[in-house]
Amino acid sequence: MRGLRWKIAGHASALVATVLLGGLLSATLVRLAPGFDADERELDPHLSAESVQALRDARHKSHNVFRFYLSYMKRAMTGDLGTSLALGQPVRTLLRDRAPLTLRLLAIGLALAWLLTLTLALSAARLRLSVYDTLTTAVSGTFLCIPAAVLALLSVLWNAPGALAIALIVFPHTYRYARNLLVKAYSRPHIITARAKGLGEARILFWHVVPVVTPQLLAVAGVSVSMAVGAAIPVEALCGLAGIGQLAWQAALARDLPLLVNITVLVTLVTLLANSSADVIGHVVRGQEV
């Protein structure tokens, strides 16, 4: 129990440090980007000299990246995440409005990907038919070789849901690990003995295979969240889905510093939370085994 507490504390401190560093890195990148000072609104002939000066003053506040980041952190503590430069809306509102769609997309996409992964990997490990194994490996290998953005375009072409595109982007990565883990688990001597003694397949699976592969599969599940978040960007951008992935793409193109910093912090947080949770659950599962 004490070990678990230490593990959670270690993960939490690493998570906070990495998230803060990620935000700072993002802010620094945007600040150093060429053309950061340029603002096309200054070219608007309708604006008075005072308005142009006001725009310049507003941008001047974010010139020093550390000062910008510090003031951002202070405001973030009170729930103020700033205002998007490109969209002119509070970042908090933008994130709140778009988060449900992305979360739904990621949840369905990941569920589909894991359903496909476990179905194919389990059947490949259980059946041990070289033709079937070659076929499933070839299918996953083919999807691995297609760019995520092309899968997103094809989903538009076939009117398929964006979640399916995410599932097909994530599935080949998870399948490779899951298949290898399950094949290795099924070839363990005690499982071969259990089968020889006439133990049922369901019992072998739930009593002897699942406990062995669960910690590793959980680790892969944690990583798959990061893959899905990455996949959400081209899928949402190309499928016209107004989620956080599309917002990230728009923020990057518009060099929208407040939006980009917030999305980086959010993405880092989600990714690290998924990985840490997977690690902690894996630790608990291993503990129960012992």
Partner: protein, 269 residues
């Protein structure tokens, strides 16, 4: 080498030779516009038809393949060298250096690769000459793609330092620098080769993703990414199947690299 690996080698050689011979196979070049035949279907004059600006698609596929196939290994070389430098030295020095290097690596790894790439690419100048855009795109891939390899190399270098032969060399009084170059670096070579080969298909796919999202190589220069952007305007697959040729070529090339990778992974192991 298995039959599949031999086949992959043959395919890659053929594609590479075809792309290198683009000047002879498509002498008109990738930017020449045939204004009388815009968006034309395949014909004897234009084997893969023309794009909406009247440029010969076959020529663009050949030149685009050349760019992607020659620059992805260059980016992979850059990332492998960076990984060797950062990961190798962090593993060799250990202690605070290793922790710092791994903290930076963790930070990069905690961000999804495509998100990091899109953000960094968007921050680079977008309205530059096509040649500069090619360089910027692939250099960025090389500069950001070292993290996973660095982690592997750091662990390998650290485990090498704990091995008996290194301890013996150290006990015999071999200076640190000599130890690093004579005993550590040669033993890291298989891992470095594997990381180099693993990076190539990853970078080819990343460039394609960037190109489709409009953040890759600038027009009129072709790359697989910019060629695949054409798929955006398709209404159905059966309508203009020849537009899928760049995608098929990309899948075949990346698959060939994946098949060859299993050999490299064996070598690294």
């Amino acid at each position: 080498m298995s039959l599949w690996q031999k086949l992959a080698c043959v395919i890659l050689t053929l594609v590479l030779c075809g792309s290198v011979a683009a000047n002879w196979l498509a002498p008109a070049g990738y930017a020449k516009q045939y204004r009388e035949a815009t968006d034309a279907p395949p014909s004897r004059a234009h084997w893969l038809g023309t794009d909406e600006m009247g440029r010969d698609r076959f020529a663009r596929v050949l030149y685009g393949t050349r760019i992607s196939l020659l620059l992805a290994p260059a980016a992979a070389l850059l990332s492998t060298l960076m990984a060797a430098l950062i990961g190798g030295l962090a593993g060799y020095w250990g202690g605070i250096w290793a922790r710092m290097a791994m903290a930076v690596t963790d930070l990069f790894l905690s961000l999804p690769w495509l998100f990091l790439l899109i953000t960094a690419r968007a921050l680079m100048p977008l309205n530059v000459s096509p040649l500069v855009s090619v360089m910027v795109t692939f250099m960025l891939l090389g500069l950001l793609g070292w993290t996973t390899a660095a982690r592997v190399l750091c662990t390998t270098a650290a485990s090498l330092l704990g091995s008996d032969f290194v301890r013996q060399a150290r006990a015999a009084g071999l200076p640190g620098q000599r130890l690093f170059w004579i005993h550590v670096v040669p033993n890291l070579k298989p891992v470095l080769y594997a990381q180099f080969w693993i990076s190539i298909p990853v970078f080819i796919l990343s460039e394609a993703n960037l190109g489709i999202l409009g953040l890759g190589v600038a027009e009129p220069m072709p790359s697989w990414g910019s060629l695949l952007k054409e798929l955006e305007g398709l209404v159905s697959i059966g309508e203009e199947p020849w537009k899928f040729v760049p995608l098929i070529l990309l899948v075949v090339v990346v698959t060939s690299f994946q098949v060859l990778l299993s050999k490299q992974e064996e070598m690294a192991a």
